[in-house]
Symmetry: C2
Subunit: 199 residues, 2 copies
């Protein structure tokens, strides 16, 4: 019997929507889902761990990975480079384990082009006002960067309607429950149960 | 603002798959979902309550409801008549509350014809052997009726692949969690979030 392939999930949403908090909640409670660790040229934030949150690399290392074709997607985002290393994603899917990519909309479009079976989820803040408050509250960015993040967010929100699912992060438990539900429901879709029916 | 319409769920599956147990688990924990009480000409089983599990009516009453066009669907199943009264379903959907119909595959086809937006879930026993054991264990049916139920079950299983989702009832908590997930995921589908995006 051939092993069933894992599913590829793409989670996008503006900076400050709470993607990493929510997705770590979801992964904690599932043994069938991994998180794809992105490579980035941006500086680590307080509390971020190398290899768990991101692989922090230099601009030169990033450029080399691009020219070696090691990225499934990469993009510049608010002044830094972010990329998804291809190999761990393919390994995970082939081993039957689903994987979730936390990537912005530009990278998502690249992935969907090569893997159209990807299931896409957009995480929205409850409102733009709330998003701006969160960005200020976390106190990570200069005023100039907050303004850029808000402009990027408004552009990204236009793309939410191209995603399969939209989850609104009013509170992180509910948002995590909704993403968990999406993953469970996708497994229950009839096209994913053919092995059982044939049996 | 116009009120959002509820969603129509159809749950089918062979006798003994555990539909009523599982669905009552799901409904207990959701305030956005009702259960459509079917009318039937079969005798109440021990523990079944009139108006909650079924509306138990006579053959004559059933025939009158048919001729008055009061059924969304009706069908004969293992020697008795079962039908879904139209009015409570339409009322629930118009009030924004989703509703689930526990109906067999023949009735499901009738409903889908008039309401193709219905979301269909097939509940499967883990195996036919297990199903037969459950039917014997619940001790409700004569040997002859068990044989008929098993024949009907085998016919119905062929139709599982026409449903949107398949849930396998190996244990009722997991099956209830999966159906709950399907209902939550359907609400997160982008086409059901348009109001929020426009805002």
């Amino acid at each position: 019997m051939t092993k069933k392939r894992g599913k590829l999930y793409i989670l996008s949403g503006p900076s400050g929507a709470g993607k990493s908090t929510v997705i770590s909640h979801v992964i904690k409670n599932r043994d069938d889902l991994s998180f794809s660790v992105s490579a980035t040229t941006r500086q680590p934030r307080e509390g971020e761990t190398e290899g768990t949150d991101y692989c922090f690399i230099t601009h030169e290392e990033f450029k080399k990975m691009i020219s070696d074709g090691e990225f499934l997607e990469y993009a510049e985002y608010v002044g830094s480079l972010y990329g998804t290393p291809r190999e761990p994603v393919i390994k995970s899917l082939n081993s039957g384990r689903s994987i979730v990519l936390d990537i912005e909309t530009q990278g998502a479009r690249q992935v969907i082009k090569s893997m159209p079976e990807a299931i896409t989820i957009f995480l929205l803040p409850p409102s733009l006002t709330e998003l701006e408050q969160r960005l200020r509250y976390r106190n990570l960015d200069s005023e100039e960067k907050i303004v850029r993040r808000m402009e990027t967010a408004k552009r990204e929100l236009q793309e939410a309607s191209n995603y399969d699912y939209i989850v609104i992060n009013a509170d992180k438990e509910t948002a995590a429950y909704e993403i968990d539900s999406i993953i469970t429901a996708e497994k229950c879709k009839t096209e994913n149960r053919t092995e059982f029916i044939n049996k």
